[in-house]
Amino acid sequence: MSTATIGNAPGTTNEGRWERAVPVYGFPVVNGFFLALVAMTLLAFALTAYRELAGLGPVSGMNDAYGWGIWKTFNVMVLTGLGSGAFAVGIAAWLFKRKRLHALMRMALLTSFLAYACGLLLLGIDAGRPWNFYWIVFPWKWNMHSPLAEVAICMSIYAMIPLALENIPVVLERLWYFDSRLRPGVERMERGLHKFFPWIIAAAYLLPGMHQSSLGALMLLAGERVHPLWQTPFLPLLYLGAATFMSFGCVAGTTMLCCVVWKRVMDMEVLDEAARITAWLIFGWLGLRLLDILFRGALGTAFHADRFAGVFWLETLLVSVGGWMLYRSVRNHDTRMMFLGYVLSSAGGMIYRFSPTTLAFRPNPESLYFPSTIEVLVALGFICMGVAAFLLVVKRFGILPAPIQEWHDMASYFRFRRPYIRWTGYFKYGFFGENEPTDSD
């Protein structure tokens, strides 16, 4: 494991090997950007209150033909796909033994939780009669064959139980460092949690596998009204596939971005592994998509001069160019190309998941939908809420992967440069230099 040679001369160890999750220290949580995000969130909340009183019509561009607007089709159907990292990265790491990917796990769990939480909140606002959601706890009321029931039930259970529990160890760890008096309790809880981990983790792979595919199954019932380039019995599988490579892009891409912003070392071993997996996921997905179109005989419609063909080529081009860039970037560890590959492929995947409900949806009679300003502001506000929560959490909890040296740097930062900040507890746990006595002495 430690004989990696990436970025180093052969024989030496990988200096930047990510093996600790270190909070982003030395950067204040509250800055201009953070305040702007909070302001957007508050604005969205105010507009939400107006929406609850006025109804959906006055605040959105939705109409009888397009019953679903961007709240559902983008914030839920697209962004939860982008936030399936806990599912895709987790399966690669646990089931397929890509052990180095465990370094990205906390990022994956956090981004997933935030994407799902914000999506589900907006789903509640998008529902016209949200007070009837309480039927969710009465299984005999479920329509077991409805893809939407599957999505609504499975998604809420997933976000509230397995995904939330998977994020608990990070919180417990914070408590462990926070005060030594909490430790016996924290350790007891950790042991209890570990006992249930196989059941929790298995649920965290089964449930997203079910609802991410059912999101695709939603549009199956719309039949011919979804353009033939998209409407296929394989829609659930393609939605799931898109979620896997998009979420890899989201997790690895966000981690890379964080490394650049907060000047962290990148572990090319992990990033290459993630890029290689993403590239192959993309090639497999593209193959399935194109073969499906070919065998259904819908390829001809891709050459008509209409918006459908345009969207199709745009998304195919983005995904394939992104996949190719990821594949190439592994060869010489080109982080720039890798990041761009993630951005392009995820954008393509997002367009793919957005199309069947909106861009490639042809209601009868033909009609138009364009989101209204309030609708866009609310959608943006809920995304801003997720981003703000992410910024807060990475600066206060150990999420972002880093080499072990980063941990020691942080400990000595809190010990010597910020001795008045005691609450982190980190100042006691690190290697403070040659002449410093350590705890073991």
């Binding site: 990510w18 093996e19 600790r20 999750a21 609850e52 109804g55 959906l56 019509g57 939705m62 109409n63 009888d64 019953g67 679903w68 646990w94 089931l95 397929f96 033994k97 890509r98 180095r100 796990m105 998008d126 529902a127 016209g128 009669r129 009837n132 039927w135 009321k141 329509n143 077991m144 064959h145 409805s146 893809p147 939407l148 029931a149 599957e150 760890e173 462990w176 570990h194 981990f197 196989p198 298995a202 649920a203 792979y205 089964l206 079910m210 199954a217 939603l218 199956l220 019932l221 719309a222 039949g223 011919e224 019995p233 209601p363 009868n364 009679p365 150990g398 992967p401 746990y429 350590t438």
Partner: protein, 310 residues
Amino acid sequence: MAITRRELISTVAKAGVPAAVAMTVGAESLHAETESIPIPSAAVGLLYDASICIGCKACVSACSEANDTPADTRGDDLHQAPSDLNDLTRNIIKLYKPEDGSRSSFVKRQCMHCLDPACAAGCPFQALHKDPETGIVSWTAEECIGCRYCTITCPYHVPRFQWKGFNPRVTKCELCSQRLEKGLEPGCSSVCPTGAVIFGPRTVLLSEAKRRISKNPGRYYQERVYGETDNGGTQCLYLSRVPFEKLGLPELGPESVPARTLRWQRRLYQYFALPALLYVGLVQVIRQRLKGHEQEAHEREKETGLRAQL
């Protein structure tokens, strides 16, 4: 990093064998439940003959009267002239008039009361449900979460959502079930002056439609009744002299939309057997992986003197 052969085999055995069993079990039970859709014992419906409709719209106002909905005068604040079905309009008369001067036709649009309704198939908490006796598809406010999936799934684009107000409702024709209970006919058929729309049991309506076709050969489009088999069969039947598609009744084939599109979905979730078995298999594999992972973490903990994290 790589998976050894032994692990691969054991993994496949643990997850794959139960999965395969579940697949076969699920598939067999699906064969038993063959594609034929049961017709409710007392299925009632409407027969609309577009060729004798004069477009008087008496049914439109009778409908809003029977259902106690205010007349939709939102167009010009004067006339009840909605342009389409909407949150106040369960029934509407439209006119198909081609520009080339060929045959035009009125069409009455309301819920088709499909034998296998797509709206009810998609409705998450069964707010839209088909009455097992009369086959009337109706909506209940108590179970509806306002997701508007019915407006997406209905191939006839019938259910309409109320876009204004904090307590929106879904509006669709429910065949005036409250009038049927009193022994009355639905509003629309009770006022039709020409008998273009008649109410009755589906079997009676179907034989009446076939009688009209055989009595007037060459009069009706394709000499067939729309709704006899279309979309798995509907309880509201149509006769027309112009192509049905022009009247907003798409050619959907003899299989119902849910049966056609959700076949695999239904097979995979049959009795929840496959997901349950997959779950048990996953737990086994992950339990084994966790053991190795914890051991490694423990060793690393000793090596670095720091609490294990990842």
